[in-house]
């Protein structure tokens, strides 16, 4: 075991591996360090909660699709294709 695996995770390291953590892709040993740090650091708890809020709120944005007129012209093209 090298030194890193036992060393406490610093806040600056935690903010860089937060997405790996949320994606469940953090190696076991780092997940332990992540959770140990989080348990005693309210600033990092806030930061994690903000990242989760970003994900939730982004999920409420409406995807921008084609203009209705473009969809209409696609459906016309479909009819020409079908009838050709």
């Amino acid at each position: 075991m090298n030194d890193d695996t036992r060393k406490e995770m610093a806040c600056q390291e935690l903010v860089e591996v937060i997405t790996d953590y949320l994606e469940a892709r953090l190696p076991e040993v780092d997940r332990g360090r992540f959770e140990a740090h989080l348990a005693s650091c309210s600033a990092c708890q806030e930061h994690l909660e903000q990242m989760r809020a970003v994900v939730r709120l982004t999920g409420r944005l409406t995807p921008q699709s084609l203009e209705p007129a473009t969809v209409d012209s696609l459906l016309s093209a479909f009819r020409r294709w079908r009838d050709s």
């Binding site: 860089e16 709120l57 982004t58 995807p63 473009t70 696609l74």
Partner: protein
């Protein structure tokens, strides 16, 4: 039926209906995928209008190629492959300096999630790398139920101003709800690079909201 098998049988049905000239089947596909197709196209081409054209071309190519579709990949994979090929060709034709090297090698540039100045230096005797300027609590303004239109607008503008590779990854994952595996396949990304782009994009959006909440507390 297992979900995968169910999906396959639904797709086979859709393809059969499309070949038979069923307009509802085509309309359903167009409505399901056009927004995400446009999202991918805009990552390659210089404008919204060109992205629309690429999406339209893609649908025409789908119709003209439907008889040759053999079902070796999913319909979704097939359609998006047509789109990315067209978008890349179009980008070259538009002589766009493909601003997409970040997609190939996101690790090339170092972009911290949070300004390093907000942490104590590594040389600090007791708290190296710990917060010097910790994030302020976002309070009620970030509660999902009361988030206002203005906040959502800040987020939308933040998303649109991300670098193209981060923007397309965050949009597909978080707006369109795609699984990581689909994003990797369509954009030709490794899982690790996909995560780097997602992380940088989400971190920038957090930063944009943080500034907004601080100014409007």
């Amino acid at each position: 039926m297992a979900p995968a098998a169910e999906m396959r049988s639904m797709e086979a049905d859709l393809i059969a209906r499309l070949r038979g000239g069923d307009e509802a089947a085509f309309s359903c596909l167009v409505h399901t995928y056009s927004a995400s197709l446009k999202r991918v196209a805009i990552a390659f081409v210089p404008s919204d209008a060109v992205a629309d054209e690429v999406v339209q071309d893609t649908w025409l190519a789908v119709l003209n190629g439907i008889d040759r579709f053999e079902g070796r990949s999913s319909v979704k994979t097939w359609i998006f492959r047509i789109l990315t090929n067209r978008a890349k060709t179009r980008a070259i034709r538009e002589r766009r300096t493909i601003n997409f090297s970040e997609l190939e090698d996101p690790l090339e540039t170092d972009q911290p999630a949070v300004d390093p100045a907000r942490f104590l230096p590594a040389s600090h005797s007791t708290w190296p790398g710990h917060w010097a300027s910790p994030p302020e609590h976002w309070s009620a303004s970030a509660e999902d139920a009361v988030v206002g239109r203005e906040t959502m607008e800040v987020l939308r503008r933040g998303l649109e101003s991300l670098p193209p590779a981060q923007r397309v990854v965050v949009a597909l994952r978080d707006v369109h709800g795609w699984p990581a595996s689909d994003v990797c396949e369509v954009l030709g990304l490794s899982e690790a690079n996909q995560r780097v782009l997602l992380h940088r994009g989400r971190s920038r959006l957090r930063g944009a909201l943080e500034v907004y909440f601080a100014e409007n507390a």
